[in-house]
């Protein structure tokens, strides 16, 4: 049993850390304030091959290891969660292609994503189907060699800036067969009939565009279908197994960033003639925060290790990591604001932003209620 990272992972952690400390941290408050997508950070990540981390060298990437991606997302999230989403969504949007694409589809679409010339997005959620993804209404109807897609998607992270999107749509004809008969398609933003609706105003992750998407008689070549017709729902669930540890990594990074801030502040801030870090009330809060973070880290890295070793239990280990790490991020950021006191509540310090950003990790890629459901189903149905 060996909990140490390998040399590649240590190097990537150090590189990402140093780069983010110098270039991303100073930008984080502006990105939050303006709510604009940070194209400069995207270029920075592309130039340093950070966007190539989710991809294997065969398709122009530099790694492809789930754990290595977790490390990179964690490091970026310590400084700016919005920026970490550029990498996370690059991975999320390309995962369906990676998992279900033909070699030709991979060769065509993955290298530009790995180089960071193009951005990816993942379009599953609809206004009427969130946690219950099987109830989607977007429809793809086959006409000869093309599918014509009509419908809309909502809450699509990066949907307004993406070049390549994987869109899930029903391919059944009568429209009332849940979960089955959903298929996945690679859609390019230049295809006629692709429209971006309004961008949402959000509590946090404000520089990460959350878009509504509309498809109006959007014609997609049949060659862009991922896998067979009707395999889309299964694919969507497999993607989530792979992407949830990434949300756990984000949450872990947020919690660590907030903890470091609170610890620094507690050692500097003097009240009653000594640093507040010398009061047991503060010490024990910090000890609990650090312990929760260690537990979250253990589950998150274990999920990454399980993915990299292709263990059969990845679904439940991914859900456990996502659930625990995101709940930890919420608790730790709330405590960090508390340790900073009145200053923590001000926009002048990053604590309140971290707390706002933490909230989304309990919600997206399956709410934590869905994670509990996934875990309970696994535990209550095995060893019957």
């Amino acid at each position: 049993m060996d909990f140490r990272l390998n040399d590649e992972q240590e190097q990537i952690r150090e590189m990402v850390h140093d780069l983010c400390l110098e270039r991303v941290e100073p930008r984080a408050p502006e990105i939050d304030e303006s709510g604009e997508f940070p194209w400069d950070i995207k270029e920075l990540f592309a130039r340093h091959d950070i966007l190539a981390i989710p991809f294997t060298p065969e398709y122009g990437g530099v790694s492809g290891s789930a754990l290595t991606l977790i490390i990179a997302v964690e490091e970026i999230s310590k400084f700016c969660v919005t920026s970490s989403l550029i990498l996370s969504v690059q991975s999320l949007g390309s995962l369906p292609i990676w998992l279900a694409g033909s070699d030709a589809q991979k060769r065509r679409y993955l290298p530009p994503l790995a180089r960071g010339e193009q951005l990816a997005a993942y379009a599953l959620t609809e206004p009427g189907s969130g946690s219950d993804a099987g109830g989607m209404r977007t429809r793809a109807i086959k006409h000869g060699d093309t599918y014509v897609i009509n419908g809309s998607k909502t809450f699509i992270t990066g949907g307004s800036v993406a070049d390549t999107l994987v869109v899930f749509a029903r391919t059944d004809q009568d429209g009332d067969t849940p979960a089955r008969n959903i298929s996945a398609f690679i859609v390019e933003k230049t295809m006629p009939g692709f429209k971006v609706g309004k961008l949402e105003k959000k509590l946090g992750i404000r520089g990460s565009p959350t878009a509504q998407l509309f498809f109006e008689d959007l014609a997609v070549p049949a060659a862009n279908r991922l896998g067979n017709e009707g395999e889309g729902f299964k694919l969507a669930m497999r993607v989530l197994d792979h992407s949830r540890p990434g949300i756990a990594a984000q949450a872990l990074g947020i919690a660590e960033g907030a903890f470091d801030l609170a610890r620094r502040y507690a050692r500097d801030r003097r009240q009653f003639g000594k640093p507040i870090a010398e009061f047991q009330g503060i010490q024990f809060m910090l000890a609990d925060m650090a312990t929760q973070i260690e537990a979250a880290r253990a589950l998150t890295y274990a999920a990454g290790d399980a993915l990299d070793r292709h263990l059969s239990e990845i679904s439940v280990s991914s859900s456990m990591a996502k659930l625990f790490a995101s709940d930890t991020a919420m608790r730790v950021t709330t405590d960090a604001v508390q340790i900073l006191g009145g200053y923590g509540y001000l926009r002048d310090f990053p604590a309140e932003r971290m707390m706002r950003d933490a909230k989304i990790t309990q919600i997206y890629e399956g709410t934590n209620e869905i994670q509990r459901f996934v875990i309970a189903r696994e535990v209550l149905t095995e060893k019957a």
């Binding site: 610890r263 870090a277 260690e294 537990a295 274990a302 290790d305 459901f373 535990v379």
Partner: protein, 380 residues
């Protein structure tokens, strides 16, 4: 990173799991009800070579690592936390300091019988007025011709009365605090060592916990472990790795409670269906599962760091804090899943709640763990 168990660790897990299911499970309720020390189980564990897990093969032990030790304690604790506690104290804080700090002569003298179970070990640090503040213990050691004489009282000593080897911490200079403390190995048959009556406790019934009085107790020079003044360091090192054992005990308690809750939820029908189909029960089961998994990883991580010769004080304290708090939460939740039946002593749920409480207290209260963690996070 490779979080798989080695073939040897998997083998130990299977061996101990079989032992625990076959021998410990059927005895667990009776051990709790009678509060009798389970000598039969300890003897059976000894036959399987489980009493000398951390003792090198050269001294008759199994020479296994701390991950294997944690697995061993967890598997026993799934059914009987008190039996696990007896074995843990013996193998960890009772024996390991001799492995780490003894000279070759001492190792040859003591370790083989500790490893084969002829001798049970105990660890005597805590005193009535020196609990968390162990550096201010009052038991004295004065130099005599060729040895020492010990005087004082120890309290909360696990395995007291059953043990034949007591690792006793005493001060040679109360004014110098931690620097005055020296460690001694005292035989259970030493006429100067007297064990008080077994305490009646909330839980961990079956494990013998009592006062140990040292009354003009003389020991020879070769019975001193380490150098004079090294005792506090020896005790702290023992507790660091002892905390891995307590974490494992808590993980076992929690896993056992979870397993029973899952089985019961699938069986128990209300409103025309198994309560496992109710979302509120599912949520409890999910949260319990996540916590026990996180606690196990933290325990194994501290153990793996210890085995790799890396610093592990902070990780051991975090594992102890997290795992024992998790065990308390999980045993209470599991009892709740059983409803009224959980409150009855006919089922193991109430026993686990009583046992879990001890884990939050001994080998350093969880408040002490937080202080250790805070110190590690913010060195002066």
């Amino acid at each position: 990173m490779d979080l798989s168990l080695s073939p040897e660790q998997q083998e130990i897990r299977q061996l101990v799991r079989d032992f625990a299911e076959r021998e410990v499970k059927p005895r667990a309720a009776a051990i709790d009800h009678t509060d009798e020390f389970p000598r039969d189980l300890i003897a059976k564990a000894a036959q399987l070579g489980l009493l000398g897990m951390l003792v090198p093969e050269a001294y008759g032990g199994a020479g296994l690592d701390h991950v294997a030790f944690a697995i061993f304690v967890e598997e026993v604790a799934r059914y009987s936390a008190s039996t696990a506690g007896i074995l843990d104290v013996h193998g960890s804080v009772g024996t390991e300091p001799i492995v780490l700090f003894g000279d070759d002569e001492q190792k040859r003298r003591w370790l083989p019988d500790l490893a084969n179970g002829k001798t049970i070990a105990a660890f005597a640090l805590t005193e009535p007025e020196a609990g968390s503040d162990a550096a201010h213990l009052k038991t004295t050691a004065a130099r005599l011709d060729g040895g020492y004489v010990l005087n004082g009282s120890k309290i909360f000593i696990t395995n007291a009365g059953e043990a034949k080897r007591y690792l006793v911490m005493a001060t040679m200079n109360p004014a110098s605090g931690a620097d005055g403390i020296t460690a001694f190995v005292v035989g259970g048959d030493n006429p100067g060592l007297r064990v008080g009556p077994k305490f009646k406790k909330m839980g961990l019934n079956g494990s013998a916990i009592a006062e140990v009085h040292l009354e003009n107790c003389t020991v020879d020079e070769p019975d001193r472990l380490g150098e004079e003044g090294q005792g506090f360091k020896i005790a702290m090192r023992a507790l660091d790795s002892g905390r891995i054992g307590i974490s494992a005990q808590a993980v076992g308690l929690a896993q056992g409670a979870l397993d029973d809750a899952v089985a019961y939820a699938k069986e128990r029908k209300q409103f025309g269906k198994p309560i496992a189909e109710l979302q509120t029960i599912q949520n409890k089961i999910a949260d319990m599962t996540v916590k026990v998994r996180a606690a196990r990883w933290m325990t194994w991580k501290a153990a793996a760091l210890c085995d790799a010769g890396q610093p592990f004080t902070k990780d051991a304290s975090m594992a102890k804090l997290f795992a024992t708090d998790a065990a308390m939460d999980i045993t209470l939740d599991a009892l709740q899943v059983f409803g009224g039946y959980g409150y009855l002593e006919d089922y193991p749920m109430a026993r686990r709640v009583r046992d879990a409480k001890a884990c939050q207290i001994y080998e350093g209260t969880n408040q002490v763990q937080r202080a250790v963690i805070a110190r590690e996070l913010m060195p002066a």
